[in-house]
Amino acid sequence: MSLLDYFRQSKPEATAKQAKERLQIIVAHERNQRNGPDYLPDLQRDILEVIKKYVAVEQDDVKVSLDNRSEELSVLELNITLPDNR
C-alpha cells in the first residue's frame, strides 16, 4: 500500500463475500444434480419442450428433482413456475 492509497481509504464492498455466497449457491445446486440419475437433465429438457407448446416458460421455470426417500419410495418432483398473464 503506498502513501496515496493510505489516504484514499474509501473501502469498496468486499468482493470475497460475494464470491463465497455465489459459490455456496452453485455448489449446493450442482451437488443436488450430481446425486440424481443421468437421465434427469434430458427428462427436464423434454418436459420443458412439451410445456413450451402451451405456455411461454423459460428453462429456469421448470425444475425437476428426484428424491430417494427410501429403498422403496422415490419421489419425482416437478416444479413449474407459470407466467403471470396466463
Binding site: 473501502k11 468482493t15 470475497a16 459459490l23 455448489v27 450442482e30 450430481r34
Partner: protein, 270 residues
C-alpha cells in the same frame, strides 16, 4: 503397503504439478520410497518441474504398451534418495491410458515396495483425470482461493465419490485433503480473496496445507528444483508442513496472516 495418492483439481494452472513435485520430494526426504507419475498424456511437464527432462527415454505409455519395462522408464532423482519419476508420454493418442494398463503398472510399483505412488492428474474431467484418480487411496485437492477453482474442486470431489475404484467397489471412500495454493493473506484481509475458512466451509474437507503465493515457486520451476528443496522459502516450508500432516503429524498452520510491513514499504509501496 503402497499408498496411492492423486493430486487433482479439475481446473488447470492451480499448481497440481508443482504440488506433486513438492510433496513427492518431501515424502522421499522423510525416508519413504516414492514415485511421482505424470498422467498428463500429451502434455508432459512433471519432468521439467523435477528437472529431469533431458533424462526421459521411455515413458508411462511405453510401459503400458510393453515397449519398455518399468525399470527402464523410471527416472531416479539425483538429489534425493528413494525418489523416482515416471514421465508422461507425448503421444496424441487419447486412449493410450487404460484402466487395465494403469492397474498393471501400479501393481508392479507395489511389488517394487514403493511407499507412496503420487499420481499427478491432468486438468479437466476427461479420461486422463479419471485414470489418475481411479485407483487412489487418498486425494489431494489442489485449489486456489478463487471461484472457478473452488467450483471445479467440488466437481472432482463428486468424481472421487462416484467414479473411483473405491466408490465402485463400495470400499472405504478415498481420503480427501484440501491443499490451498497461491494464498495471499493481505488480499484476504482486504476482502478481495476467499479466506481459508471460506474454502474449507464450501468444500467441507480437511485442510492439508496452505501454500502462500510466493516468488519461490516460479524460481523453482525455472531451475527444475522442486520448491520444497528451497528451505528458506515460505512456500517450501508450507509444503514441508503439508507433507508432515500427510504423514499424520499435527503441525500448526503458518503464513495465514499478513506479514507486518516496515515504515519504508508502507510509504513507498512494496
Amino acid at each position: 503397503m503402497s499408498k496411492v495418492v492423486v493430486v487433482t483439481s479439475g481446473k488447470g494452472g492451480v499448481g497440481k504439478t508443482t504440488s506433486s513435485a513438492a510433496i513427492g520430494t518431501g515424502l522421499a526426504l522423510s525416508g519413504f520410497k516414492t514415485v511421482i507419475i505424470d498422467f498428463d498424456i500429451g502434455l508432459r511437464n512433471l519432468d521439467l518441474i523435477m528437472g529431469c527432462e533431458r533424462r526421459v527415454v521411455y515413458d508411462f505409455v511405453n510401459v503400458i504398451k510393453g515397449e519398455s519395462n518399468l525399470n527402464q522408464s523410471l527416472i531416479k532423482d539425483k538429489r534425493v534418495d528413494n525418489l523416482y519419476v515416471l514421465p508422461a508420454s507425448q503421444t496424441r493418442d487419447k486412449d493410450a491410458l487404460t484402466k487395465e494398463g494403469v492397474q498393471t503398472v501400479l501393481n508392479n510399483l507395489r511389488d517394487m515396495e514403493f511407499d507412496f505412488i503420487i499420481c499427478d492428474s491432468p486438468a479437466g474431467i476427461e479420461t486422463g483425470a479419471i485414470m489418475a484418480l481411479y485407483f487412489a487411496d487418498e486425494a489431494i485437492i489442489t485449489t486456489n482461493p478463487e471461484v472457478s477453482s473452488v467450483r471445479d474442486s467440488d466437481r472432482i470431489l463428486g468424481m472421487l465419490s462416484s467414479k473411483s475404484q473405491r466408490a465402485e467397489q463400495g470400499l472405504e471412500p478415498v481420503r480427501e485433503h484440501l491443499l490451498l495454493t497461491r494464498y495471499d493473506p493481505s488480499r484476504v484481509n482486504r476482502g478481495d480473496m476467499l479466506s481459508v475458512e471460506d474454502v474449507e466451509e464450501i468444500l467441507a474437507i480437511p485442510l492439508l496445507g496452505v501454500i502462500p503465493e510466493s516468488q519461490a515457486v516460479l524460481k523453482a520451476s525455472n531451475s527444475g528444483e522442486p520448491v520444497i528443496l528451497d528451505d528458506e522459502s515460505d512456500a517450501g516450508k508450507a509444503y514441508r508442513d503439508a507433507v508432515d500432516r500427510l504423514l499424520g503429524k499435527e503441525v500448526d498452520f503458518r503464513f495465514l496472516t499478513e506479514e507486518k510491513k516496515g515504515l519504508f514499504s508502507r510509504l513507498f509501496g512494496a
